[in-house]
């Protein structure tokens, strides 16, 4: 994104309810890693039971980022707190940031750029990493009964599977970037969810209902001390269960064609289908070696088209990385990919020789796919 006056003003919104030490760490990470020229900070102190309000009173006047704080007399909860912060925001972009989420250097522009470039993207979500360095979430799947399941949980964040941007069903609002206009037009978070949980999933579904997608931005890794800003696990579970019921009641129509993965054997075709469920068209491109960018055999990925390049030859890692940066998945052995991802693809693009040699495999594992000879 070009620097200068064209850069949108980003309003970072935070809702604090205690957890003084984490609020301080989050503010420090934010101010250290954010250009204050095109950013403002709006903090709602939601009746913090500790001395967080004092911290904010001290912090605001000297914050490098212009900062405003509203002190609420009662605990508004996550949804209403963020809605209030969004009301106070003056920027055309909103970043909703938890008070236990530490942003890294260079985080802002990659989160904003997709929203500036593509009107069909409703929000961007980073990769979340736990305090132990393991992956916490690379987008989230929503199951038929409304349960949410993070992709990549406890995985190695350096695994290439998590390295490419993609459309996701939803993601934790511990760090969301969205347009102020989008957030407001949807009515913000549904405050009927009370203190916390499921308001973000619900908003993601409302975006989807209006043709807006969520985009995973894996180049940004936010350290999230999940639960540090919440009460006990037991209280959280009670709240989560209650809100799951509300979510299912509100979004029943949108859940009709989703399915369970958690209770069934974790087979590749199921997990891949769950990952790609919101992408209507999937294309598998089989090549001898990873081509250079611009190769016409590889279609352009979009919110509606997921492209996977499969090549047994991994001699060109730089080319693979370039494709991944564009949102294309790059995997190894084409045969095992086609076999494991049963019925996954709408189209298989491959050399004529390969198609001839694997007629039986394709008829067996991808009978629904149209076959295209790569030229």
């Amino acid at each position: 994104m070009s620097a200068g006056r064209d850069r949108p003003l980003v309003s970072v919104c935070m809702v604090a309810h205690g957890a003084h030490d984490w609020v301080a760490r989050t503010l420090d990470a934010l101010t250290a890693h954010t250009d204050p020229a095109h950013c403002e900070l709006v903090v709602i102190d939601s009746a913090s039971p500790d001395d967080t309000a004092s911290l904010l009173r001290e912090y605001a006047p000297t914050s490098p980022i212009p900062m405003r704080v509203h002190y609420s007399e009662h605990n508004l909860g996550f949804a209403a707190g963020n809605n209030l912060a969004a009301n106070l925001a003056r920027g055309s972009m909103l970043c909703l940031l938890n008070t236990d989420a530490l942003v890294p250097a260079g985080w802002l522009d990659p989160m904003v750029a997709p929203l500036v470039a593509d009107d069909a993207i409703g929000a961007t979500v980073p990769l979340f990493v736990g305090l132990d360095g393991r992956l916490q979430e690379a987008g989230t799947n929503v199951e038929a009964d409304g349960r949410v399941e993070a992709f990549g949980i406890r995985a190695d964040p350096d695994d290439v599977e998590w390295s490419w941007p993609r459309r996701i069903a939803t993601g934790s609002a511990a760090c969301w970037m969205t347009r102020t206009a989008t957030f407001r037009a949807l009515g913000g978070f549904d405050a009927g969810y009370g203190l916390a949980y499921y308001e973000d999933v619900d908003l993601a579904f409302e975006m989807a209902r209006r043709g807006l997608r969520l985009e995973l931005v894996p180049s940004v890794r936010v350290v999230h001390a999940q639960g540090a800003s919440s009460p006990s696990n037991a209280a959280a579970e009670v709240r989560r269960d209650a809100n799951q019921a509300r979510f299912v009641a509100r979004q029943a129509a949108m859940l009709t064609h989703r399915w369970h993965t958690r209770d069934l054997p974790n087979e590749p075709h199921r997990s891949m289908a769950a990952r790609d469920v919101d992408v209507p068209t999937r294309v598998l491109v089989i090549v001898d070696e990873i081509p250079a960018l611009g190769d016409r055999r590889v279609p352009t990925p979009s919110a509606d088209t997921r492209v996977t390049i499969a090549s047994a030859n991994d001699a060109r890692p730089a080319a693979a990385q370039s494709w991944r940066a564009l949102g294309v998945e790059v995997v190894g052995d084409p045969v095992s990919t086609a076999r494991a991802r049963l019925f996954q693809y709408d189209e298989v693009v491959a050399p004529a020789v390969w198609l001839d040699a694997h007629t039986e495999l394709l008829a067996d594992a991808q009978p629904q796919a149209s076959l295209t000879v790569a030229v």
């Binding site: 009107d119 206009a181 037009a185 009515g187 405050a191 209902r209 043709g211 009709t256 209507p280 049963l342």
Partner: protein
């Protein structure tokens, strides 16, 4: 993911000019309705918003709008605007606020040069050479179309937020009242007329402090004050949309009440509350539709019939549902195929194992099964 926008080298522009950079219900409602109606009719046009200082002086209530600044008003700037815009629609009446009120509203911001204020206001009211100029409707008020911008469902959800903020009763609804400081002499009559009902007092940004504070105090615990400094336009619309009744002398608030079919009334000196029945919505909406058709035609080109928002949403939902259904059916099919294959393999293995046994082994197995049955 590639993020490439289609090049728009020769896209024509329609400018909406008004005081969208100040917080008044009238300006903020008009611009949103105007953008909604005109962009639906002319998807080929770039709809650009202009206000005296625009987003160079960002205010929270307009953060969802991309408003360009008219100021500084120089010859070069005026010529550039005339060249960039194919037509202009003046939204609301910039002169109605009065120059003094606007000077007060704009003053004090580092991006505002006091010398620019009068020229910017004047140009906003009379765009001069910027192509054909139209005006949005005076009567009926465009707020009558608010339901198209703020659907009932969104308003209902938003009232959950109002409840969380204690701006709305936890159960049921409230009578919504708005007024300005010049109407303080009507508070006594208003309090008497309101009786025992719950009341939400809508704040306005400039010049309502005394009215709203006094009214809230006089009504007592049943009154809730929704301050303009904390609330959005969406909050104010949501309150009106769910009100038992709306009492105001503001034509915009009354038109909003009509849009959502809420009873409304005005306070008249020396203090009587006068109710009036909503106008015939259909007739007024048709008048407004015809007016926006004519504004959309200021720039030559086809005016397309606007699809109602619910229709668009239904179409999108149907497309998404189709994709999900396809994906779901494939998983079910894959599960079925795997189950068949697994069963077939298991049966085949059992038959082979059976065949591999000698006749004596088979006989012994039959005898064992017979003993178990006994």
């Amino acid at each position: 993911m590639t993020h490439v926008k289609t090049a728009e080298p020769t896209r024509r522009s329609l400018g909406l000019w008004g005081c969208f950079d100040v917080d008044t219900l009238d300006d903020q409602i008009r611009v949103r309705v105007g953008v909604h109606e005109l962009s639906a009719r002319r998807p080929d046009l770039a709809i650009r918003l202009f206000a005296p200082f625009g987003s160079s002086r960002p205010i929270a209530v307009a953060a969802d709008l991309a408003v360009e600044a008219i100021a500084p008003v120089t010859g070069a700037r005026v010529r550039a605007l005339a060249q960039e815009l194919d037509a202009v629609v003046i939204v609301g009446d910039p002169a109605q606020h009065g120059a003094d009120w606007l000077r007060t509203a704009y003053a004090g911001h580092p991006e505002v040069d006091p010398r620019d204020i009068d020229a910017a206001i004047a140009l906003c009211a009379a765009p001069g050479e910027c192509g054909p100029v139209g005006h949005d409707a005076v009567a009926p008020h465009p707020a009558l179309l608010a339901r198209r911008v703020w659907p009932f469902g969104v308003c209902e959800q938003r009232r959950e937020f109002l409840r969380a903020m204690h701006w709305w009763p936890q159960h049921g609804a409230a009578v919504v009242v708005s007024g300005h400081d010049g109407e303080c002499d009507r508070i006594d009559a208003l309090v008497a007329a309101l009786g025992d009902v719950d009341v939400t007092v809508l704040g306005a940004a400039h010049g309502d402090d005394v009215f709203s504070t006094r009214l809230t105090e006089r009504v007592g615990p049943r009154a809730r004050h929704m301050p303009a400094s904390l609330s959005s336009i969406d909050d104010r619309v949501a309150a009106v949309a769910g009100a038992h009744a709306v009492i105001s002398s503001d034509p915009c608030a009354l038109a909003l009440a009509d849009a959502f079919g809420r009873p409304r009334g005005a306070v008249h000196a020396p203090g009587s509350v006068v109710s009036s029945a909503p106008d015939e919505f259909g007739a007024d909406e048709a008048t407004l539709d015809a007016h926006y058709d004519s504004l959309a035609a200021l720039v030559p080109g086809d005016v397309v019939p606007a699809l109602a928002a619910p229709e668009v949403l239904a179409l999108r939902a149907a497309l998404d549902a189709r994709a999900l259904r396809t994906a779901h059916e494939r998983v079910v099919l894959a599960d079925y195929v795997r189950a068949v294959r697994n069963n077939t393999a298991a049966e085949l293995a059992a038959v082979r194992a059976e065949l591999a046994r000698t006749p004596v082994q088979r006989l012994r197995a039959i005898v064992r099964r017979g003993r178990r049955r006994q």
